[in-house]
Symmetry: C2
Subunit: 314 residues, 2 copies
Amino acid sequence: MRVVALAGGVGGAKLASGLQAAVGDELTVVVNTADDLERHGLLVCPDHDTVMYTLAGLDDRVQGWGIRDESFAAAGMLERYREETWFRLGDRDLATHIVRTERIRAGARLTEVCLGLQRALGVVAKILPMTDDTVRTQVRTDDGWLEFQEYFVHRHQAPEVHEVRFEGIEHAEATARVRGELGFAETIVIAPSNPIVSIGPILAVPGVRDLFAAARRGGTPVLAVSPIVGGKALKGPADRMLVSLGHEASALGVARLYAGLVDGFVVDTVDAALAPAVEALGMRTLVTDTVMTDDASRERLAREILAFGRAVRA
Amino acid sequence: MRVVALAGGVGGAKLASGLQAAVGDELTVVVNTADDLERHGLLVCPDHDTVMYTLAGLDDRVQGWGIRDESFAAAGMLERYREETWFRLGDRDLATHIVRTERIRAGARLTEVCLGLQRALGVVAKILPMTDDTVRTQVRTDDGWLEFQEYFVHRHQAPEVHEVRFEGIEHAEATARVRGELGFAETIVIAPSNPIVSIGPILAVPGVRDLFAAARRGGTPVLAVSPIVGGKALKGPADRMLVSLGHEASALGVARLYAGLVDGFVVDTVDAALAPAVEALGMRTLVTDTVMTDDASRERLAREILAFGRAVRA
């Protein structure tokens, strides 16, 4: 069962780890790269690395992000050197960015570098950057256009987002690996990540929506999982961002964004009442517990989604 | 009392800290850059950093090198990524290399970057790279020519050194800062560093020997401290290297290398018997305890050397 998941950060990483438990090396995760950034001269890929650390079993379950048992000795020294350290990088995490930056400077492509890092950490699935080209999310706030991480980390998502753009997206290409995996996928799953700034950039890469359409014509179910549960984002600013951009902060609001793109939509049991309205958008629904609190719940949700995919196309 | 010290690694750093205690911001240390190297895409300057950490009071007194309370979390991760980690970099130390590399890539010169790092760590003296150009020490062994750190760190100084060269030295320029400081120096001190591979490259930078000669003509004493005590290097391979290159592994052997260049030479009390032979080379001698075991002995030796300089030119 070849599965392709589209994922952003933490929520996507959790579902990806459940899918990896279910299908092992038949899983490919396509990750958002539009919130990548350069810090201290190093290329940092937050979404890729969150998924990688999670699939390698290195994720910090208590804190909910980053590497378990991470230390911050280098960050303290960077502060002494008066570097801006609002994007605080742990010591182990820094090693990732150092190696990535070194290999890219030596001429390697982001995809190949990331696959090498994943292999070294023993990740079973493959995690593919959506593109090897540079795309950067920017959000328009009352203070003007901000780089995504400036808004997300430095300003703690406090400013209201009036508009979102993906700088460079029109010239970005889906990599051959991404195109190939989408072409051969037997199930495509949009993870419960922010639909605007995590999934949005992946879907905005030229050609990706066509690949979805082609996959669906070939019988591959495309499914999405709501990142909004009971009107709230489990993590991050997706709920407020949906509202400030004129959408509804609900599973239904997310389903509307995916209308015409997916065959099935997964909503949490607390949102069961929204299922009929979602189905009216032309998609099937699966109502289940979508909150992943441990390995078992990650894998259970993953297996339910895969079964839902088979049912949707039956 | 404007003092310029020439220094390599640990021994030089200790004397530099004594000199800093004695004359404060009137001290300038010119450091060897020929054992700099690139690791993991980062520019590492071992001699500069050893002196900087020591003058900042961050040096590890127990281990004898590196930063006190250093951790190696990133190095462990770099190993997982199958990076070569024989040049093991600590987490705090990595921050130094990250910042330096970032600023140099942004177009800054090594000297200005290093001065910025020093200021941030509260170093009172100035530490100047001998050049902003790239010079790299290589040693010829039975295994052929090796990069210096390959010999020094990776192979633990085991191979016998038959020849030494400073790749790039002919095109290297002493910086304006180095030329200026040597021109205004009231005392010049060659620290007890390896005369071949620590002091050697500094003296080999085109023009430096002429600046020494000009300073001496102007009345500035040039003094050197033997890094060999009782026929042994206190640290590192200087003794074996002297022998394999056809010199004598003794304070006298070192004095011969500096003949014609210095006015005064400092030997340890255990080598008092060598003083007449050293004086026969045309230099005055100071016989004193040169082994620096704590801050007090560093400063005492520094003050004795400065007094010796005044006596030499009196």
